[in-house]
């Protein structure tokens, strides 16, 4: 892992990996959504709303996966002081928040025709909303710390503590009564028919590739900003030193 701690080496890999992930993600996601939209038959119980599954489930997976990635990066930053870990955590927060918001929006749209309501304050929906608020808090905290040039250890601790919400979201439908159905895909197998499962898998992989590409692009943005700022600061220091030497010479 420390092999990739070098930002120069990371940038060399990210330069070709970013467009590759984004293009392959766009193609796979587009194909999977088209497949789900045009080829999948209506479900016996849910009817056409079953198609919402192909956007809602990947969004939920990435919303939770994004915070898991922040927690892992925060741990790596706190324990090994990996120089890219803090940047990776910061870069993951905005796409993670976007997918958590998409998950809540599509879940609400799915709930209206299926449950007869846009929203209920049950364990699954409420814990997912808490995740979105955690993301917003993390984004505000990490960007304000970065602006002030402070160490990101506080944001890393926040990232680790917030991870407690991820297993709560996952187990919420088991622990509490909920309108939301229990888990359909577990380590023991899947209760979803293959006709729905394959496009769902393709959409999840496609959105995950896009997520990876977005995270890499945002990491490159943060690194480029740091490098530009460092270069401008060095030049300003050199100019100051030159001006000091000239004024000293003029006095002498």
């Amino acid at each position: 892992m420390h092999i990739y701690a070098n930002p120069a080496r990371f940038l060399r890999i990210a330069k070709w990996l970013t467009p590759l992930l984004l293009v392959s993600g766009l193609v796979l996601t587009g194909g999977a959504l088209l497949w789900g939209f045009t080829q999948v038959p209506p479900d016996r119980l849910m009817g056409d709303t079953v198609r919402i599954l192909f956007v809602h489930v990947p969004a939920a997976w990435l919303g939770m996966g994004g915070w898991t990635a922040i927690a892992v990066a925060s741990l790596v930053e706190l324990v090994w002081r990996h120089p890219l870990a803090a940047i990776a955590a910061r870069a993951t927060a905005v796409p993670g928040a976007a997918f958590a918001a998409i998950c809540l929006a599509t879940g609400s749209i799915w709930g209206r025709p299926t449950w007869g309501t846009w929203w209920v304050w049950d364990g699954r929906l409420t814990s997912m909303l808490v995740l979105l608020f955690l993301y917003l808090g993390y984004i505000a905290l990490s960007s304000s710390l970065a602006r002030e040039g402070q160490a990101s250890r506080i944001a890393a601790i926040f990232g680790l503590v917030g991870a407690i919400n991820v297993p709560i979201i996952n187990r919420s439908v088991v622990w509490w009564n909920s309108l939301h159905q229990p888990p359909s895909i577990t380590t023991g197998g899947s209760s979803i028919d293959a006709v729905f499962l394959w496009p769902l898998l393709a959409a999840t992989i496609g959105f995950s590739l896009l997520f990876g590409g977005v995270v890499l692009a945002r990491m490159r943005t943060i690194l480029a900003d740091i490098q530009a700022e460092a270069r401008l600061r060095r030049k300003a220091q050199k100019a100051d030193m030159k001006a000091d030497m000239q004024s000293d010479g003029a006095i002498a």
Partner: protein
């Protein structure tokens, strides 16, 4: 009174939210990266 809901309207809405949201975050991240790297290269060449 029972409501007559057109399920496909909800499907269109959820796909619309997801596609617009995803493309927006992809485009914003890509153009922000290009702009930041151009700024860095300008700072290098100055």
């Amino acid at each position: 009174m029972r409501e007559a809901l057109d399920q496909m309207l909800f499907v269109y809405a959820s796909y619309g939210v997801t596609v617009v949201g995803t493309l927006a975050i992809v485009a914003q991240s890509w153009f922000a990266m290009k702009a930041a790297e151009a700024r860095r290269d300008r700072a290098k060449s100055k």
